[in-house]
Amino acid sequence: MRLRYHPRSMSETSSASLIHARGLTKRFGSFTAVDAVDFDVAPGEAFGFLGPNGAGKTSTMRMIGGVSPITDGTLTVRGLDPRTHGPEIRARLGVVPQQDTLDTELTVRENLVLYGRYFGLSRAECGRRADELLDFAQLTERQNDEVEPLSGGMKRRLTIARSLINQPDLLLLDEPTTGLDPQARHLLWDRLYRLKQRGVTLVLTTHYMDEAEQLCDRLVVMDKAKIVAEGSPRQLIDRYSTKEVTELRFPPDVQDTLDGQLDGLAERVEKLADRVLLYADDGEAVAVAAHERGLKPETVLVRRSTLEDVFLRLTGRSLIE
């Protein structure tokens, strides 16, 4: 389905970045949620914040969206300060929050129309755009239904559709596909990709590495309120991991006795609770070598490195706790 808009190009700012942050900090009392982070988001790119729950991603997003005051540091969106130019920034912003904040007292269609009204659009224009967006989100048949009984995937699609009613050129998505089944996730990715092709800047947070790899041009890895790495998914994997990973799964009691036997098999070895990861550029070779050493794993899996491996390397923990 074609959406009839192409976002205006950003032209009125001094710097080239759409979003610019230096030393950005957020504190809640004595707790620091975001600790002096620096990042820039260029117009038209898909930018990701990757990290586990509690890393500070949502707090960062809320500051960008102007719904949370900055404790310290600099943050500009289109060169404007969210504190003094909030309404102006939000007029061209689309926000998809982590939890659906749909209006359960209104129907599906009314949610779209009324939200458009908050941006000052005429009722006729709201209706027109609502029809388009219902089609985009594949919700046209449900447009007069109550919001409550919709499935999780439909509610998410509605939330995304709603965030587009003002034809934003910057879309903030906080954990857009968390809790959705695989089919719903792929449908959503497809829609987001199409938006990106139209020039909409996407900024999203996620703790799913496949989502980060699929959608993002560049991303930063966040852990415990700090940014620990930055780059494109490819760059991060090349920099912090090997090409391939060999996963060996042993029975629990055997795993503990392996300590001497894995040395030299691979560039790096990670022992997880339920398996051993051997990092090397040629996974098959490692698997063969392990077999030759007399190791008898229950299962052997050779796969490519992912951002999960990057995160493990950087923090010693996995993305999903």
Binding site: V67, S68, E105
Partner: protein
């Protein structure tokens, strides 16, 4: 380095909210398109009270001292007071129960704050809706009063804006109080304040029934201000105290609005 924690939405001290506040009213209109029965039913409660206590019990009471000391029929005594309390109750219901529900459970305002609207717009808009609801009831009740023969003075027309002022005062304070609540149990506190006011503020009987000290205390309470204002208008004996009542209610309303706007900032823009 930027200074820490400026208030998020810096608004020049003179302006408070904007025309965008009307969007909140629009939203409520959409919602109640489906639930209009609730609104209509609110009109009946004061009517029932007027018929039963005003006319039914009124036959036993006869007449009581009204504003200015003259004896007036009990129906005429009680009707404007019922109008005042229904303005209060209508506003309080919208500003407490419904407001709390939107704030805590439906998270209605969170998504709205991602648009150009501010917390002041939300406070104004919600209050405006409470006023519209109150205004509908008031108009209906005034028509009933005239039909039942209680429209004795041309000042009666002013009871409409006066009743709206009462709704404004209680609506604003109600929202402010609600913004501090955490669970449904806290609503008992509201009822604990509202019911005694309803019963003891000269609604059903003149304050002459009280000893002097108590009478003075009651005269300082907000519902009495509204009751006396409306009763004076309905009976047609309007003195300088009416201005004091208006000022009192106005201060209540503005104060409440300022508090609720600050509280919304604290609650939603963390």
């Amino acid at each position: 380095m930027t200074p820490p924690s400026l208030p998020l939405r810096v608004v020049p001290p003179v302006s408070f909210g904007s025309r965008r506040a009307f969007r909140l009213i629009e939203r409520n209109l959409y919602v109640y398109r489906h639930g209009w029965l609730v609104i209509v039913s609110g009109f009946f409660e004061p009517l029932f009270y007027l018929l039963s206590i005003g006319f039914g019990l009124g036959r036993l009471v006869g007449s009581v001292p009204g504003p200015g000391g003259h004896e007036i029929p009990y129906q005429l005594f009680i009707a404007p007071a019922l109008l005042a309390s229904s303005s209060m109750n209508g506003a309080i219901t919208e500003a407490t129960l419904n407001f709390f529900f939107k704030l805590k459970y439906q998270k209605t305002f969170e998504s709205i704050l991602s648009t150009p609207l501010s917390t002041a717009d939300i406070a104004l808009g919600e209050l405006g809706w409470a006023l519209i609801r109150g205004g509908l009831y008031t108009t209906g009740f005034l028509v009933v009063m005239v039909v039942l023969g209680l429209g004795v003075s041309p000042w009666l027309l002013l009871t409409l804006p006066a009743a709206l002022l009462i709704s404004l005062a209680f609506g604003a304070v109600g929202m402010a109080a609600t913004s501090f609540m955490r669970t449904w149990q806290d609503f008992d506190l509201i009822q604990l304040v509202v019911l005694p006011m309803f019963l003891f503020s000269g609604t059903f009987y003149p304050l002459d029934a009280y000893p002097d000290a108590l009478r003075l205390l009651v005269q300082l309470t907000p519902l009495y201000q509204g009751v006396d204002l409306l009763r004076s208008l309905a009976v047609g004996i309007v003195g300088p105290t009416a201005i004091l009542h208006v000022a009192y209610l106005l201060v209540m309303g503005i104060g409440g609005l300022l508090v609720v706007s600050r509280r919304l900032d604290k609650l939603l823009l963390r």
